[in-house]
């Protein structure tokens, strides 16, 4: 038994993790698979004391690649960081990339991840052609749009609860260079930020905004809108981007380090760094897509008790008003959020319970401080529920079953498919116990 936790380091459970290159062997009898543990809350954790869980991280072989069609097949533990260093220099990119490259393919499918290009490319699941998985009765199946399509759609974003992902086949994106042309723009308040994001989404394939979560009054929701596209060969340096050296956080920081004051100072400095005029130019793809990967184990900054990432999406029409309400609620709590991110989402994906829907997504990092944090999440959830929005389960650790089910009625149809394939409830996670009553 070992202590298992997600990226937010809350909650922690005792569980047995099986680690082997032979995924077929360890997935037999396991109640859940987990990859690199980059989901924040309890999605990758077994229920306390139950198990075993199968770790996919050593099952990282490439299986097939077609250079004409860009179709790549690999084992579920194949890591996006490996993908980038192997395929970006060849002019191929992942069609969708989340904010860290230390994720496994299996994890990208299970969370149906989205990225800065969601408004044009949708979720990762839309680029998945086929999956090989072990379902609860022990059989190994190939599923796709044509074979067991219902199971396929339930598995995209299905949090690993429909079966163990063994292999993933997806279509790569051909890119003109491995570098990114980016432009940053400072915005003075939240309304301006939303308008700027909306405008940018017409002409830029990649957009995201950082918000100063502790700004107040007229400046509430000020921030920086970041826009990007793959650079043309004549703009980009001729050499492939080298992988950058990373710093790592060597120990759990004491809790006083992250005070409201220190967060405020950081946010102010970050806002001012950009300057009024906005900058544009060639950017290293890792600096653009994965700024936080430079600081390995950055989650330790939040100390032993860990942190919560709260991410929600709210419908477009009320985004301005609701977004401000969420920011005010956050600012009124005792803790500020170091990194608050806003992104406009495009269409809803193929996954039956995938997170995104047309609207504005907001994400905050909040230190876990017990009851006050629970109360804050409850308040934020009330606003989101009222607005017709929903939360991202790959980030969640604190939402109640009642609230989640009210936010996302799609869960029932999804759970029905899940139960068809797993009538005895063999596959489960700490999250499924919390939200689906397993």
């Amino acid at each position: 038994m070992a202590e298992l936790m997600g990226w937010g380091r809350f909650p922690r459970v005792e569980g047995l993790e099986l680690v082997s290159e032979d995924l077929e062997a360890i997935s037999r009898g396991a109640i859940l698979s987990r990859g690199l543990g980059r989901s924040y809350g309890d999605a990758s954790l077994p229920p306390q004391g139950q198990g075993p869980v199968a770790s996919t991280r050593l099952a990282n072989r490439l299986l097939a690649f077609n250079g004409d069609t860009g179709v790549l097949r690999a084992e579920a533990g194949f890591c996006l960081a490996d993908f980038n260093s192997l395929f970006l220099p060849l002019g191929w990119a992942s069609p969708v990339t989340p904010g860290t490259r230390y994720v496994s393919l299996g994890g990208m499918v299970a969370s149906d991840v989205h990225g800065k290009n969601h408004h044009v490319a949708g979720c990762f699941g839309e680029h998945v052609r086929a999956l090989r998985m072990r379902v609860a009765d022990g059989r190994i199946l190939d599923v796709s749009e044509n074979q067991e399509p219902e199971l396929f759609h339930a598995t995209l974003g299905g949090l690993g609860l429909t079966g163990h992902l063994l292999e993933v086949e997806f279509v790569l994106e051909k890119v003109p260079s491995a570098w990114v042309w980016a432009e940053n723009q400072q915005v003075e308040n939240f309304s301006e930020l939303i308008a700027c994001l909306r405008e940018a989404s017409d002409t830029w394939p990649m957009t995201v905004a950082w918000v100063d979560s502790l700004s107040k009054g007229d400046a509430l929701g000020r921030g920086i809108v970041m826009k990007g596209r793959w650079a043309r060969p004549d703009q980009a340096p001729s050499q492939a981007p080298a992988s950058k050296s990373a710093f790592s956080v060597p120990l759990d920081f004491p809790e006083w380090v992250l005070s409201k004051t220190s967060v405020q100072l950081f946010n102010r400095a970050y806002f001012c760094k950009e300057g009024k005029s906005g900058k544009s130019g060639i950017v290293h793809p890792y600096a653009f897509f994965y700024p936080l990967d430079r600081l390995q184990d950055w989650n330790r900054i939040y100390g032993r008790r860990g942190f919560i990432q709260y991410q929600c999406v709210i419908p477009k029409q009320d985004a301005d008003e609701i977004g401000k309400q969420l920011l005010k609620t956050l600012a009124a709590s005792d803790e500020g959020s170091f990194l608050s991110v806003v992104k406009d989402c495009g269409r809803q994906g193929k996954g039956m319970i995938s997170f995104p829907m047309p609207g504005i997504s907001l994400a905050f990092d909040v230190p876990m401080r017990g009851d006050s944090t629970r109360a804050l999440v409850r308040k934020l959830n009330e606003i989101v529920l009222e607005a017709g929005g929903r939360i991202y389960l790959a980030k969640d650790a604190l939402t109640s079953a009642e609230t989640y089910r009210a936010m996302d009625p799609r869960w029932e149809a999804w759970n029905g498919v899940r139960r068809q394939w797993d009538p005895d409830g063999k596959l489960r996670s700490a999250l499924s116990v919390r939200l689906f009553g397993d």
Partner: protein, 245 residues
């Protein structure tokens, strides 16, 4: 670089072979599981290994087959300049103390057979005018410790042998690289609770590949284990008798 690799399908060996492939080295994989060898060969080809990655069956317990395995590898690569050995056996001290057969098997594989394999590699490399021999020993061979007495003694013996090779043959062009991994999270250590400074296969592979390129005779991976073991080596016997790590 042209590499003959024993143990490339799993753990640190897999990570090292993947790094070699990604920069375009040519590889022949030796091992005892034909299916796994084929799958790794395919993976390494897709990662950029030079040409076709060939495989050959070679079981460490059957030293009479070593010469043939090297012969075939020599043919497909048209000569090679590096031999890597990451294969080895592991069992906990409790299991080995209780089971004489398991104990004999581990002593045989990790010491006798591994050294016989290295002897074959040494002869081949010297016959070609030199080359690199990179062998995975362990920090367990640095100081006798209660949980790894038998495993550690095989690695101590192996380390000793490799040091001797370096002394005798370095002038003749044989570069011996002894790798001493600390605790690394692989299938071999699954189920053990990781100590501080536990490493990942990929990090070890980066350090080891740099050591092979530079011909560094001894490399600890992760590097911090060099200092950890220096400390442990300096502990007096009275302390070692009390400690349980």
């Amino acid at each position: 670089m042209k590499v003959v690799f024993l143990g490339a399908t799993k753990g640190m060996g897999r990570a090292l072979a993947q790094k070699m492939a990604a920069r375009g080295d040519a590889l022949v994989l030796l091992g005892r599981d034909a299916k796994s060898l084929e799958e790794s060969a395919k993976d390494l080809e897709l990662r950029g290994a030079a040409g076709c990655v060939h495989t050959g069956l070679c079981d460490l317990t059957r030293s009479d087959e070593f010469a043939q395995a090297f012969e075939s590898a020599h043919k497909v690569l048209e000569g090679f300049d590096c031999v890597v050995v990451t294969a080895g056996a592991f069992d906990s001290q409790d299991v080995l103390e209780a089971d004489a057969a398991a104990c004999q098997r581990l002593l045989d594989i990790n010491f006798t057979r591994t050294i016989l394999f290295c002897e074959e590699a040494r002869k081949r490399l010297l016959a070609q005018g030199g080359g690199k021999l990179c062998v995975f020993s362990s920090v367990a061979g640095e100081r006798a410790r209660k949980p790894v007495i038998l495993y550690g003694s095989t690695k101590a013996g192996l380390t000793y042998y490799l040091e001797g090779l370096d002394h005798k043959y370095h002038a003749l062009g044989l570069e011996v690289i002894t790798v001493k991994p600390g605790f690394v999270n692989t299938g071999m250590t699954a189920g053990l609770s990781p100590p501080p400074f536990a490493g990942e296969p990929e990090g070890v592979a980066t350090v080891v590949l740099a050591a092979i390129d530079r011909g560094r005779p001894v490399v600890f991976a992760p590097g911090v284990w060099c200092w950890v073991m220096a400390l442990i080596r300096s502990l007096p016997r009275a302390v070692m008798r009390r400690l349980n790590f």
